[in-house]
């Protein structure tokens, strides 16, 4: 009599302990069905307290108990080992509650519950793999806010994962993500594949089995249905690497192309104990296993970024853009604003404020329009409505690049407006911290824009970042330094390079030199003037400083109390201001 027989026969059905009542099981099964329908998407469910502690497989246990029955044969492994204490404990509990048989032979099981491994033995379309998950949110390393993570999943906005990898590559030369390597499921959802080793990641792709992953503590279940694409996140030109100990073999069975774990003597053992034992008795299908070996991903230092080592070009790589700016059909403008109104409603302690009271203007490609006014004039609120940081109360904003200018951009949802900011409309903020991540490198900040816009070649991104940074006169030897270590002027140059990274059609400059020392501001102003002259880009410059408007723009609006009170050619506004307020502004600028 085997141990499994003993376990199975130990308890008659009516005396089996219940770990999850029928209602609870249904809830889990409903969530599993949703998870299978939307591969890789984390489906929340009412995760219940289990006889094992949170983090010890309470999620996997709920799945196995919910989908299993007395007719099933259950295999439970931990680290690939059927005899680890946690595996024994869970197997005893599962078998006890289901009245199911247990097995150590993957070929023989109907359900395998596993922690940290996919068995070396390929599973069939009649088998289910249940993976226990300790951390279900793959974005957690780059985003601590749960709401922000959910938004990023909803919009498939995963650029920051690539940025984190870019940062790893430029600092250490390799991607540091180890086990639980982030993958893209069905080309849609980013998924944390429980922490299985990278060795097992390619083996998730297009598998025959159904894989269900469950995180009891975070109350999430997700799945990889059979024959579903699972791709590790990596740059097109940076190979994904599995763990591989070259020239090492298992000291017990002699296998080389399996997941090996190190012993303290520096020798290696199969992590999959069942596989190891069966290799020793010759009870394995070598040809089938061969197809499972992720050989294409064995590490090759020559293919790593330092091994490739492409020499970067400076600004010359930008070339002379003959790009002509887009206008709406039959119109001259790239950006048109009509009757924009923003009213901040009154609340207890604050009265309603008409910050913008009907502003209209348009800007053509190759043209720079100034908006001048003092603080409180409404110019910043107007700018925030254009950017999308504030919801305008009324009015229309049209962009030639969006639906040939037929769509009122103000009617788009937040996600669509965020996408506009990726390649149609860029902003340079007064405070570089508002437009940059100060914790990552100058190049990484540009990579952030490029990856968000769909760039997937590390070397293309790096070359583009180098060219842009050189163009804005950030020394190339500093491109891998954290922006937080840069001076204010240098940060502003990085922000400008980032804003231009995707060749936007509209550039919004919000007090771009305010806050910089006079001499530094002059340099940034020079740069902006050159960049505007070089490009067929529609530019709006908001500033309280007449000198900035004079240096950058051909024509300008004067805003006061939320309204445009005067507009004209910039030199005319300065030499021949008509409105009393503009005259005061000019007089002040002369002082």
């Amino acid at each position: 009599m085997s141990i499994d027989d003993v376990l199975h026969s130990a308890v008659p059905p009516q005396d089996r302990p219940v770990v999850l009542d029928e209602q609870g099981q249904r809830e889990v099964r409903r969530a599993i069905l949703a998870a299978i329908a939307v591969p890789g998407h984390q489906v929340p469910f009412g995760s219940r307290e289990m006889p094992v502690a949170r983090g010890w497989g309470s999620g996997g246990l709920q799945v196995t108990v919910a989908i299993g029955g007395s007719q099933d044969r259950i295999k439970v492994i931990d680290q690939g080992d059927d005899q680890g204490v946690n595996a024994v404990n869970l197997r005893r509990l599962i078998a006890g509650t289901l009245g199911a048989e247990t097995t150590e032979d993957t070929r023989d099981c109907t359900i395998t519950q596993s922690r940290h491994r996919i068995p070396e033995q390929a599973m069939t379309d009649e088998q289910v793999l249940v993976l226990q998950v300790p951390v279900s949110e793959p974005l957690r390393p780059v985003e601590k806010s749960i709401a922000a993570c959910e938004r990023m999943h909803a919009e498939a906005d995963y650029s920051r994962i690539w940025v984190a990898m870019y940062e790893d590559l430029v600092t250490g030369g390799v991607v540091n993500a180890s086990s639980g390597y982030p993958v893209l499921v069905n080309d849609r959802y980013l998924m944390a594949p429980s922490p299985i080793p990278r060795w097992d990641v390619p083996r998730l792709d297009q598998g025959d089995r159904l894989t269900i992953l469950c995180h009891g503590r975070d109350k999430k279940v997700y799945a990889v249905p059979p024959h579903t694409s699972v791709r590790p996140i990596t740059f097109d030109d940076v190979p994904f690497e599995v763990e591989y100990a070259r020239d090492q073999r298992c000291i017990r069975c002699g296998s080389t192309d399996v997941y090996l774990v190190e012993t303290r003597e520096g020798t290696y053992l199969c992590s999959d104990v069942e596989w190891c034992a069966r290799v020793r008795t010759g009870d394995v299908d070598v040809a089938e296993h061969e197809r499972q070996i992720p050989r294409a991903y064995y590490p090759d230092p020559a293919k790593r970024v330092r091994g490739v080592g492409i020499r970067l070009q400076g600004r010359s790589a930008l070339g002379h853009s003959e790009h002509t700016g887009r206008t709406a059909p039959g119109e001259e403008w790239a950006l048109q604003v009509t009757d924009l109104v923003k009213v901040f409603p009154g609340r207890l302690g604050s009265s309603p404020v008409r910050a913008v009271t009907g502003v209209s203007f348009d800007v053509a490609p190759g043209e720079a329009l100034g908006v001048i006014g003092e603080s409180g004039s409404g110019k910043s609120t107007m700018m925030n409505c254009l950017i999308g940081n504030e919801r305008a109360t009324a009015g229309t904003v049209r962009l030639a690049a969006v639906d040939d200018g037929r769509t009122n951009v103000l009617d788009l949802d937040d996600a669509a407006r965020r996408r506009l900011r990726l390649d149609v409309m860029s902003v340079v903020h007064q405070d570089p911290a508002a437009g940059l991540d100060l914790r990552i490198s100058a190049g990484g900040n540009i990579a952030d824009r490029l990856t968000a816009a769909g760039w997937r070649s590390f070397w293309d991104i790096r070359q583009r970042a180098a060219a842009l940074l050189d163009r804005v006169e950030v020394p190339l030897h500093r491109m891998d330094d954290v922006v937080g270590q840069f001076s204010g002027g240098m940060r502003q140059r990085v922000q400008i390079a980032r804003a231009l990274a995707t060749d936007p059609e509209v550039l919004l400059l919000d007090e771009p030199t305010t806050g910089l020392d006079a001499s530094v501001a002059a340099g940034v102003l020079d740069l902006l003037r050159e960049l505007i002259a070089e490009r067929e880009i529609a530019v709006v410059v908001v500033s309280h400083d007449f000198q900035v408007i004079q240096a950058l723009t051909d024509r300008a609006l004067v805003m006061h109390r939320g309204a445009v009170i005067e507009q004209g050619l910039t030199d005319q506004l300065f030499a021949d201001p008509h409105h009393a307020y503009t005259q005061r502004l000019v007089a002040a600028a002369h002082v």
């Binding site: 053509a364 043209e367 002059a522 030499a575 021949d576 009393a580 005259q583």
Partner: protein, 251 residues
């Protein structure tokens, strides 16, 4: 010859709100300029010469009257032309050289003049070539070409300004005392350069203080006093008749 600029009943008054004053600058000014003309504006200080140039260029906005510019593609009314089209016109067909250079910081003469040529439609390499030619003709030492304009002398800056204004010249060019700060030798170079504009079929409206220069360069002259036109005609005739209005200048 065809008409390029027609100015009718132009008036300009400034309202200074802070001190509650009005200053009348131009009163009912009318004249026409034909293609290829070199029209000089003469008159004593404060007569309205520079104001008139600025009203044409729309650095000042006239209160009433019309300014019609006729180029190959037809006539335009400049007083009501949109800011955007006025700005475009200024970049290509319509130039203005002020008395003083307003160069952005840390830009050298060569880059400044090259940028001006680029704005008028030349590609990068030809623009550099004509910029070098222009600076050479105005006697700007090659050693200065990449220096910050801010370190140049007043005369050098005026010549760089003239080079930028005349390189790959626009069809209509306004010059406001373009040689006032130059010593005799450099003045001669500048005048020679301005003279070549006629051969390039550039129409010029210019303010000069020096009657000799007017006689040498202009084919027509308009004399202003107190914001009004008091005489118009060829320089030889008009300057003799209105010597009193120009007295201050002759001295």
């Amino acid at each position: 010859m065809t008409e390029i600029l027609r100015v009718e009943h132009l008036n300009k008054t400034f309202h200074l709100h802070a001190i509650d004053r009005t200053v009348v600058s131009l009163r009912d000014v009318s004249f026409t300029v034909r293609r290829g003309d070199h029209l000089a504006l003469a008159g004593s200080s404060g007569a309205g010469k520079s104001s008139l140039l600025r009203c044409l260029y729309r650095t000042y906005l006239p209160d009433s009257g019309t300014v019609r510019l006729t180029l190959a593609d037809g006539p335009r009314e400049l007083t009501t032309l949109s800011d955007r089209h006025m700005a475009r016109l200024r970049g290509r067909e319509f130039g203005y050289v002020s008395q003083f250079l307003q160069a952005p910081p840390r830009v050298g003469p060569l880059e400044l003049v090259t940028q001006a040529a680029r704005r008028r439609g030349l590609r990068h390499d030809p623009a550099v070539a004509v910029a070098k030619d222009s600076l050479t003709r105005l006697g700007i030492d090659e050693a200065l070409w990449d220096m910050d304009c801010a370190v140049l002398s007043g005369g050098e800056r005026q010549r760089v300004n003239l080079a930028a204004g005349t390189v790959s010249p626009p069809q209509l060019l306004l010059l406001d005392e373009p040689v006032s700060a130059l010593d005799p030798a450099n003045r001669e170079k500048a005048l020679a350069l301005i003279e070549t504009l006629r051969a390039q079929d550039v129409t010029v409206v210019a303010v000069y203080h020096d009657m000799q220069i007017i006689r040498r360069l202009a084919n027509r002259v308009l004399v202003l006093a107190d914001g009004r036109t008091i005489a118009e005609g060829n320089p030889t005739d008009v300057l003799g008749q209105h010597i009193d209005a120009l007295e201050e200048v002759s001295l």
